[in-house]
Point group: C2
Chain length 254, copies 2
């Protein structure tokens, strides 16, 4: 598994998988309180799902305060669009890009997640802004309806790399355990063929195993609940860590 | 997952997966002591790997004593051949069949495992002897060198059913995590297409995840260490139960 790095330095010393806790508060006070709760679970990365946040005009200031509160724990800034599972939003595409540019310019995050389904010009703008500030870009694809075939998932992983992402992320919904195997197979292939690290998960109840064990198939990071979940199938950081430790012990023992 | 039953009654009330602890002692005294250790871990089934046992002439008497010591815990009687990962043996094929027939006639096991790679006539004899005594037959296939393709594994599962097995078992060695996905895919397919329950595992370090989570892909039973392991990649019953409980919680929560 390729480690996720910030300015060349692997996060958490190259630990696999990284555990990332989402923040989903709607107000600044609630967000700062949520961050304190989440930090107690000692995540490797904290993701601010800014689409849950109710004050677009206060995002940069709030991100700055959040980054300060997180100390050494890297912040992943993510505005998930409604079409890929995010909260409803009044922002248009240009405003979203401006938000990312402002956050990058203010250097108040270590990573940003941007959906590669956005227009190519927008993706390029975000990648450029992130690169300029030494921020790592996660280029992502989410499908809450189904699990596309391996060939399509492989194409998504490859596209993230081609568009200049430093991390490729794919999250899809399974309808069966066969779909879970499709996601794991695509992850394995992506992690073997790409130069950049990959993150993947099969969502929902059926897919929850991939949140626990996707690292064994090449996924560099998994999302776990510190305070509140942000997507279906997420499990607590405590449970994630317990399963990961037992599985690693088994795989090292043989 | 179809439950494994004895005379129509699902073992452990249909619990999925069943956990089976192997016994690998060489002498009767050591075997009886090993059984006591193993019972403390409360396995659902105990397997006597009789190929480890040094006194072929004392097998039936010893099986009787073992069954008595196990009380309500069902006994799986298994003589693994050297070609499928068992201990070296002086018994010829006819002697092995006679051993199974004697154990069946004495009704000192609830299940017997016989390799479907044996001559068809031998398989038939063991199935007939087991059926006559109300003993469930596990027809098995082991490959310690590699993981054959899904089509070949599917054929092995189907053959176990065709030959009259009440359970189909496939255990193979992975060379990569791709092979682990092949085994899980074949298990899923077998569990969906066969009338009988299936047991599967990918062996060794890489495959140990399948011992923990194969049930999510249709495997009805997993082997866990109560006292000593009998095949590569086995993990302790304690660790198995911890992972299974956490994974089930995640899959039920969604």
């Amino acid at each position: 598994v390729k480690p996720i790095a910030i300015r060349g330095k692997p996060i958490a010393g190259g630990k696999v998988p990284l555990i990332c806790a989402p923040l989903v508060a709607r107000t600044r006070d609630a967000l700062m309180a949520e961050a304190q709760v989440v930090l107690r679970a000692k995540p490797d990365v904290v993701e601010w799902r800014v689409d849950f946040f109710s004050k677009p005009g206060q995002v940069v200031d709030t991100a700055r305060a959040l980054k300060s509160a997180l100390g050494a724990t890297p912040l992943l800034f993510t505005r998930r669009s409604p079409s890929e599972g995010g909260e409803a939003s009044d922002l248009d595409a240009a405003e979203v890009v401006s938000l990312y540019e402002a956050v990058c310019e203010a250097r108040c995050a270590e990573l940003v997640d941007f959906e590669m389904g956005n227009p190519a010009g927008d993706v390029e703008k975000v990648v450029v802004a992130a690169n300029r500030s030494g921020i790592a870009t996660v280029l992502s694809y989410h499908n809450f309806r189904e699990t596309p075939p391996v060939s399509m998932l492989a194409e998504r992983f490859a596209t993230a790399q081609e568009l200049g992402g430093e991390v490729a992320k794919v999250a899809v919904m399974p309808k069966s355990m066969d779909d879970v195997l499709v996601l794991l197979g695509a992850t394995l292939k992506g992690s073997q063929t790409l130069r950049i690290p990959v993150i993947s998960m099969s969502m929902g109840a059926l897919g929850s195993l991939t949140r626990m064990l996707g690292w064994a198939f090449g996924s560099a990071l998994t999302f776990g609940i510190g305070a509140s979940g942000s997507a279906p199938g997420q499990v607590s950081i405590e449970d994630l860590e317990a399963v990961i430790a037992l599985a690693r012990k088994a795989m090292q023992r043989g």
